[in-house]
Assembly symmetry: C2
Homo-oligomer: 307 residues x 2
């Protein structure tokens, strides 16, 4: 199965209580691609970069089965740059700099070679761009997953709601679910959001795990309790990549398989936060992932004798 | 198996975003006893009340197998009174009034008829009182579970640490685990606290579930996502009551059985918050509890094929 991913490929400067990097490759598309390519190929990337984006990074992606035909390279502009600083609890951060650079003129184009993809991952970007990619696809994918954030709810809610009508799965965090629905209770929020379009809703709660809602069903996936969270940047995108990667690999979009996919997404996210950037996602092996999944099984496995 | 419980029997005035009660029966001992008595009897209560504590409440407890020989009734003083107001998110609250009344002179006495109990639940109270109950027991119980709070860490840390050396299981919330250990990471906090005495540590995270630590093992129990949390008062005590009630019923203090006990504690807590006070704990049946446990199984049950 092939997976089209829309997202940024960028540079980040990050400061956490554990260290600091001035310029490191980041972006939602980068994290999604590295995570998903552990499970399925090809990953068909749609993004935009400037003249300064490293060729080695592109080569590393290609070597993993990430197709870059949909990545526009702008020769006279810089890549998107984001800088942020995490608070001591690592759950909150301040954005210090957002230099849009190439992103200001981004008009994603779906290459002919991507047509017919069964899975589409819309990374967190301007809703109009997400819609444009959906509109360009001649055949609707079997599954469309959408990530978004509070920023778009503040400035482009109508566009966002239009995209919501077209997608199957929405990924948001708990604060965003509350903002989007106007409900404080996540159970009520989920019910409201599922009426806006998506049949499945994943609410990410960071170190507190994630909830999957579908009709009247709810599933909870914990986050692995970690000794140290080194850098949370990209954890949500990595989660999304692991999630859609598993679904595409198994080509099964049932609720039961989505539960498994969420555990796999959580496991991938738990690697992502262990080092700055996408470094851990590049070095881990299938054996590492399997060992981590076994930890998740141990973490939640219990016996109840319901007589 | 018999369970000795030490805790308050009191009146509460509670305001939540969903309503308000001026005077309702509460107290840690009350919640523990109502929850635990669903699983095992006798519950051997140690507490103190004033002349104003309702006889009907005592009768209702007795009818459930709660022995009150260890409950001192002070004829010329009022019962302990606590008043609090919850914030809109229900995770935080302000204490408005704390009238110690009878609690100011509480010297718990273990009746002869309680000697030989296999299980001891030390509810959240002054550490010196918890220690006094341990010291009065001629035979050490098979399992001692201790609840405490940040207040005692602020004003009686040495006493608290002395009790910690004597107990098997400690129950605290995440903020308290961080305060007690001086560690931000809960994994590191758990390791530090287990060196202080308890072989098992339960970290309660409210709506985000609970973690059980033992040696190098960790288990996570989610909280059931609820449409409405009506009143969180007593949820932690109810959790503790369900936990020790199941352990005493099965007389099995293995790590595996503690996992089950935590799920049962979470299920009981999910009932507690549905109405003000202990009302729900009195009206639910075994069928209600089993149905709720089945929801927990559904909530976390997933398949991973580790080949």
């Amino acid at each position: 199965m092939s997976v089209i991913t829309l997202g940024t490929m960028a540079f980040d400067a990050i400061e956490t209580p554990f260290g600091k990097v001035d310029k490191i490759v980041g972006g939602s598309g980068t994290y999604v691609a590295y995570a998903a390519s552990h499970f399925v190929t090809p990953i068909q990337q749609i993004s935009i970069v400037g003249y300064d984006f490293p060729q080695e990074e592109m080569d590393a992606m290609k070597a993993r089965g990430v197709e870059l035909d949909g990545v526009e390279i702008v020769p006279d502009k810089k890549s998107f740059f984001w800088s942020g600083k995490y608070h001591i609890d690592m759950n909150t951060r301040d954005t210090l700099i957002t230099d849009l650079n190439v992103l200001a003129d981004f008009n994603p184009v779906v290459p002919d070679s991507y047509q017919g993809a069964e899975y589409l991952m819309l990374g967190n970007l301007m809703p109009k761009l997400q819609m444009s990619v959906i509109d360009q696809l001649k055949q609707r994918p079997k599954l469309i997953v959408m990530d978004t954030m509070n920023f778009w709810m503040d400035i482009a809610m109508d566009d966002l709601k239009a995209v919501l009508k077209k997608v199957d799965v929405l990924l948001v965090n708990d604060g965003e679910a509350r903002q989007l629905s106007g409900e404080l209770s996540l159970v009520k929020a989920a019910r409201t959001i599922m009426k806006m379009g998506p049949k499945f809703l994943i609410i990410k709660k960071g170190e507190h795990g994630a909830l999957l809602f579908h009709e009247d069903h709810v599933f909870f996936a914990p986050a692995l309790p970690l000794e140290e969270v080194f850098d949370p940047t990209g954890a949500g995108d990595t989660f999304a990549g692991g999630f859609i990667g598993h679904l595409a690999k198994t080509n099964d979009i049932s609720f039961d398989n989505m539960k498994t996919a969420i555990i796999i997404g959580s496991a991938m996210a738990s690697f992502c936060v262990e080092k700055f950037g996408s470094e851990r996602l590049k070095e881990i092996t299938k054996a590492d992932i399997d060992a981590r999944l076994a930890e998740f099984v141990q973490l939640v496995n219990f016996d109840i004798d319901l007589v």
